[in-house]
């Protein structure tokens, strides 16, 4: 990277750092930022810092040993000759639980994310291209489920999928089945379904915004030049909607990996995720430092995956092009 980037007009973009008028403006900028920045430091950076520190300590009975050590992280990757087989995959780890749950959580929220995008994209397309009047009203309608708490929405799925819930009693009344279906609730697919529903509105909005920004004349030009409907979608709408779709995917994927409430309520014995393990370690197994290490490792893995994902889809190039 060269520092002296020039814009198309050829003028140097960056002015000397010492310019006093600029410095004043920069300070003013920080001033405007400071409430948010202060809040971020107090509510996010400090707790994460505490968590990182905790992860380098160890639990010793009821007390916490404050000597700094990597023991907790070592436990997460300690090798064992005896393999724990999970879904046919052998894990040669002395403590395989975090690794297995991590993979399971990633797969589950990946499935949920794909489902969310698949649901949200058509909705966003409809709002951007078909709805011409009362757009604001449509957006409000879309957010109606968010007027109730997350917990209630998860609980309502329990009622929908439950043994004598809406689906089962409906099917029984129709005579389709004579015994309630039991595979609906208390398994990983119930968790994925609930997550997909809970997060879909979060995904619609960013996708909608990027679709809304697409210049309609591009579509008209494509139609004039003989592109079919599908070609227009693939060659114009999809690439131009990519930034919003990527944002939506990240917005859904990152928080759902660590979700705890949903698996706890609809997951049953088999639907646990990594968040459940963190809760277990903190509250049941009385090993907060290991719980902290698992959380930090999870954060690092998610961050790494997001970076790889952005690199793989060429997000950098996409941004370059937009300049």
């Amino acid at each position: 990277m060269t520092i002296a980037v020039t814009d198309p007009a050829g003028a140097p973009r960056r002015v000397a750092r010492g310019d006093p008028s600029l410095r004043a403006r920069r300070i003013a900028g920080f001033g405007l930022l400071s409430p948010a920045l202060g809040l971020m430091v107090a509510m996010l950076a400090l707790p994460i810092g505490a968590l990182v520190l905790l992860s380098f300590w160890t639990q010793d009975g009821f007390a916490i040993d404050r000597t700094l050590t990597l023991a907790n992280y070592a436990r997460l990757v300690a090798w064992s000759d005896e393999a724990t087989v999970w879904f046919g995959i052998p894990f040669h780890l002395a403590y395989p639980v975090p690794a297995i749950l991590m993979i399971k959580s990633l797969v589950m929220s990946l499935v949920a994310t794909v489902a969310v995008i698949a649901l949200a994209f058509p909705m966003a397309c409809f709002m951007a291209f078909r709805v011409t009047r009362h757009k604001a009203l449509w957006i409000i309608v879309l957010t109606i489920p968010f007027w109730t708490s997350y917990l209630l929405r998860v609980f309502s799925w329990k009622i929908v999928l439950g043994f004598n819930g809406a689906i089962n009693s409906g099917l029984i009344a129709l005579g389709v089945i004579d015994k309630p279906l039991e595979f609906l609730l208390y398994n990983p697919s119930a968790v994925v379904l609930t997550l997909a529903h809970s997060w879909v509105a979060f995904a619609v909005l960013p996708i909608y915004v990027s679709l809304e920004k697409i210049d309609r004349s591009l579509l008209e030009a494509a139609a004039d030049l003989g592109d079919s409907r599908w070609q227009r979608f693939r060659r114009i709408i999809l690439p131009l909607a990519a930034p919003g779709t990527i944002a939506a995917a990240l917005l859904v994927f990152i928080p759902t990996v660590g979700d705890y409430v949903t698996p706890a309520l609809v997951g049953g014995p088999g639907g646990t995720m990594i968040g459940s393990l963190v809760q277990q370690l903190f509250l049941k197994q009385n090993d907060a430092p290991l719980g902290a290490a698992v959380s930090i490792a999870m954060m690092a893995i998610i961050a790494l995956l997001v970076v790889i994902f952005l690199w793989a889809i060429g997000y950098g190039r996409m941004r370059e092009r937009r300049r």
């Binding site: 009975g61 009821f62 724990t84 999970w86 879904f87 403590y95 395989p96 639980v97 297995i100 749950l101 399971k104 439950g162 043994f163 004598n164 309630p180 039991e182 208390y186 990983p188 049953g268 014995p269 088999g270 646990t272 459940s276 393990l277 277990q280 370690l281 903190f282 509250l283 049941k284 197994q285 009385n286 090993d287 907060a288």
Partner: protein, 373 residues
């Protein structure tokens, strides 16, 4: 602009003290400057099992102090302990005979001065000195409620064979897969070993290889068969009422509640034995409220009126002998055994393994659950 003027004048020092105070008062600053009034005393905070936050169980406290204490509901004693250790300032905890030791070892339990409990002398003498109440010469828990843990089942939905010879093996039986529910507790592994023919006293403190082997065999099986592992009795109650669950690990009150709702449900006496527990109130040293409040709360729990409510509403026993005298005789008769000593002699009393073993069992059970798919 009035606002800007105000700031300007303040900056120039032209504001009178009176004006200044007036404006400050509008922001509630006065509360800090005023001489401290009699400060509202700290409210008592209790860690309690779900359902026990009902005022009928501590009416005497409400009568005396006008309101109920604050409650924090826990699903298992280990959760409550972790919460206390993480800094939750609770004054009173409701552990059981098998779990109070954990609070003592963690150094958060405070010995009780029984002279401050007016109902202490009416407690069954056997309970006054039972393991879990008296530890190293200190009274660490005031015994209050006692009851059983056994199998609750729907007689219309289980096989005749089970009804004729009830056994804990129903929780490990393929035929009942997805139709039973165990408590979310490492007890599943221990009960599995009992099904295999061992006695509770030999296996309650399993550890190391033996525990790992038992977890692999019985823990996994118990997990696979359970529809869900319950932590919340009302979820279990709904499951049994709808028929989603046909048999479950349950406490006596469930039977009483379901029958009151008109659901046919029986309480089994499994051949491997059923369990008796007794719980009570422990004073914690982490609380901020006045100790007198904590003693009042504990004393209210020991009152015969609370015992009457327990016997009549949930079918549990009470530690106060007088409770049985004032409770509805029909309800007392329905309980069968009303002497906790006799009850303990006829059943298996839960025991507390050492801290290291308890932690190992927690971990093994937690890992087992995590690997289920």
């Amino acid at each position: 602009m009035q606002r800007i003027k105000f700031i300007d004048r303040m900056a120039q020092g032209k504001l009178s003290r009176r004006q200044m105070m007036q404006s400050a008062g509008a922001f509630g600053v006065g509360a800090l400057i005023l001489p401290p009034r009699a400060r509202a005393a700290e409210v008592l905070t209790c860690l309690e099992w779900g359902g026990y936050d009902d005022a009928t169980y501590f009416q005497a406290y409400v009568d005396k102090h006008g309101s109920a204490p604050n409650f924090s509901i826990f699903a298992g004693e280990e959760d409550a302990l972790a919460k206390v250790l993480a800094g939750f300032a609770a004054d009173v905890m409701h552990p059981c005979n098998y779990s109070v030791g954990r609070f003592v070892s963690a150094g958060v339990a405070e010995p009780l001065d029984t002279a401050r409990l007016s109902h202490w002398n009416d407690i069954f003498p056997a309970l006054q000195v039972a393991e879990g109440v008296l530890e190293n010469g200190d009274i660490v828990m005031a015994p209050a409620d006692w009851g059983n843990s056994s199998i609750a089942y729907r007689p219309d939905l289980v096989d005749e064979a089970f009804k004729a010879d009830p056994s804990w093996s129903i929780f490990f039986d393929e035929a009942y897969k997805g139709r039973v529910s165990m408590l979310d507790n490492e007890l599943v592994i221990i009960i599995g070993e009992m099904v295999a023919g061992k006695s509770y006293d030999d296996v309650y403190d399993m550890s190391g290889e033996a525990l790992a082997a038992a977890a692999k065999e019985w823990g996994t099986k118990g997990l696979d068969m359970s529809r869900f592992l319950w932590t919340d009795a009302s979820e279990l109650q709904q499951g049994l009422a709808s028929g989603e669950i046909v048999a479950a690990y349950a406490w006596n009150d469930l039977i009483k509640n379901l029958r009151a709702d008109g659901v046919a449900v029986e309480y089994a006496r499994p051949k491997e034995g059923f369990f008796t527990w007794f719980c009570g109130l422990t004073l914690l040293n982490t609380g901020k409220a006045d100790k007198a409040l904590a003693y009042d709360f504990i004393d209210a729990w020991l009152s015969p009126e609370t015992g009457k409510a327990l016997i009549e509403d949930s079918g549990y026993g009470h530690a106060n002998q007088k409770s049985f005298e004032i409770a509805d005789p029909a309800e007392v008769a329905a309980m069968g055994i009303t002497d906790p000593e006799a009850m303990m002699a006829s059943s298996i009393v839960f025991r507390n393994p050492t801290d290291a073993v308890q932690e190992e069992q927690n971990k093994v059970w937690g890992d087992l659950k995590a690997l289920k798919y």
